[in-house]
């Protein structure tokens, strides 16, 4: 590649490197923009899709760079959701649902952005604590350990009635997440994920993915780099959880368990776990698929009859697609590559 002289060369180079991020953000912003003209119902579903996008990008940040499948990110989403709920709910609502909260938390009423960041940060801290020992594991053992994180979180949140309300829904969260809030955080998440994956730490981590022994022999501290990815991933998951909670207005521990885990993992696998483009592609494709399936489940009018698929067929189709992808195109739609610069040099 010929070196161009002067500032314009450097700018062009920076643009070229950042192209995947720019392209992906453009696509997502375009989708949100288009949805803003649609009825409120569609806007809500797009918002949900954007929240899912944050969740998938979060999962990708760890899985894509470390090569280890994590089942535990939904646990961090739950952490984020509960933390933000506790900090931003009106004290009046808290006293109804969580009468036994410590006074400081019961009285707190933080602004929404602070609550969101707190959710992400606490999730990241939990990940740091939990991940520090666990990142030493590899392969299947590591994945099983992350599964344990999910189950432990589920059990703890489901029974820690004084703080989380236990099995009951925690209602009354300020439902401030609309299309633009979700979009803003989606763009932020993609930016964070992209900037991170361009760092030296992430590069070393990806190198170690291929041959861990060789990497360690070369002096790379695989465990430390893995932990960094894990913590950043948890931070973003926490944010996703906050968004979900404040979109629905409620937090239920049941919503942060296996079904959500499956959905996010499916999105990542289908889109392609090797690149940010894959993560985004997965979220977008599943969102579109969900729309189509919803339509099928509502049904079509044919004469006097309505032909509709039974409820639940959407989940079956999603699982089937995930299976087909892993069998026939294991690298997913994006195939491990980032979206490329479409113009010839």
């Amino acid at each position: 590649m010929a070196l161009e002289s002067g500032g314009s060369g450097r700018v062009a180079e920076a643009l070229r490197r950042a192209w995947p991020l720019i392209a992906l953000c453009a696509i997502v912003i375009a989708i949100a923009f288009a949805a803003s003209f649609a009825p409120a119902v569609v806007q809500r579903r797009t918002t949900q899709g954007l929240i899912n996008l944050v969740a998938v990008v979060a999962l990708y940040t760890f899985v894509g760079n470390s090569g280890i499948l994590s089942f535990g990110n939904v646990a961090f989403m739950a952490v984020g959701a509960y933390v933000s709920a506790l900090l931003t709910m009106k004290p009046g609502a808290k006293s109804i649902f969580l009468p036994d909260l410590p006074a400081i938390i019961a009285a707190a009423e933080w602004p929404t952005v602070a609550g969101t960041l707190a959710g992400g940060i606490v999730a990241a801290l939990v990940a740091l604590l939990v991940g520090w020992p666990l990142m030493r594991l590899t392969g299947v053992s590591a994945s099983i350990a992350t599964f344990a994180i999910l189950v432990v979180a589920y059990v703890v949140f489901g029974n820690w009635t004084s703080v989380t309300g236990g099995q009951n829904s925690l209602m009354g969260l300020p439902a401030y997440v609309d299309l633009w809030t979700a979009l803003a955080w989606a763009v932020a998440a993609m930016a964070i994920a992209f900037i991170y994956q361009e760092t030296r730490s992430a590069l070393l981590l990806r190198a170690s993915r291929e041959d861990e022994t060789a990497a360690q022999a070369a002096g790379i501290n695989v465990v430390a780099h893995r932990l960094i990815a894990f913590v950043i991933s948890a931070f973003l998951s926490g944010i996703a959880g906050v968004l979900l909670g404040h979109f629905l207005g409620i937090v239920r521990v049941e919503n942060f368990y296996l079904d959500l885990t499956f959905l996010i993992v499916a999105m990542l696998i289908i889109g392609g776990r090797g690149s940010l483009t894959g993560a985004v592609a997965g979220a977008v494709v599943i969102a579109m698929l969900t729309e189509a399936l919803r339509q099928i489940e509502i049904g079509f009018q044919v004469g006097h009859a309505t032909i509709a698929a039974p409820a639940g067929v959407g989940d079956v189709i999603l699982a089937l697609i995930m299976l087909l992808i892993i069998l026939f195109r294991p690298a997913g739609i994006a195939g491990g590559r980032e979206i490329t610069w479409p113009f010839r040099r």
Partner: protein, 294 residues
Amino acid sequence: MERLVQILVDAVSVGSLYALTALGIGLIFGVMRLINFAHGELITIAAYTLLALFGLPLPVMLFGAAAVAILLALVTERVAFRPLRNADPTTLLISSFAVSFFLQKLLILVVGSRLKGLDFLPVLGRQIELAGIRLQLLQIVTILVSIVLLAALTWFLRATRLGLHMRAAAEDFRMARVLGVRANRVIAVAFALSGILAAAVSCLVVVQTGVVQPRMGLQLVIIAFVGTVIGGLGSLSGAAFGGFLVGAASILLQALLPPDLRAFREAFVFIAVALILLLRPQGLIPAAGLKERV
């Protein structure tokens, strides 16, 4: 004193159940290095088969459940796992996860997500007295069935040609094939055996809970598979032991923990898993020659 014995019997009974479940998972992991999440679906679908065959003579019901479980196991192997025989462990794990969810969602689609009552072998719910201590007949039956199945499996593995092939394949798959052991046959047998174990567990659980619901297998498997990990991935005796330990510990914790901590007992169990994975990644009774793929 009576209470103590009752708790111990309960612990052994539940432990046996989880041992059988863990064995089903361990068998597959041994030959294929695959954690079969779908094992839970084998248990669930076997239970729904019992429901479907309800009213027919007992042997027909049992045979039907076993047949369906075995068939389903073989089909999932052929369709979802054989094409991935040489894939990396993460891909296998993903496939297993996808198959599990596919079957579960399909089942929900067909039968709905509500639980259904099934009054199967209510005679086993009777109380009996052994040496002056009141126990449930089902607990004794569970323990006996587990012992019989374990003994049968052990005999099969140690005394038959096919069993020898399976043990060889579990230790060094490639070398076994070099010697002429047929990969497909060994793996198919492992899956079929896991189907039998799943059906047995299914029957026992249905008798105990009287209920059939789409998540029942998954709940069992999540805990049992922890046992497989603790016991040592790749070791069958380890899997059985680990499953037993986890099941028994769950009951003992329930009895020993103060009331407000009791609900967290599963959390304790899982934290123990993580700890064991850290301190002894090869498990408590590791398999000889278990090679972690780099």
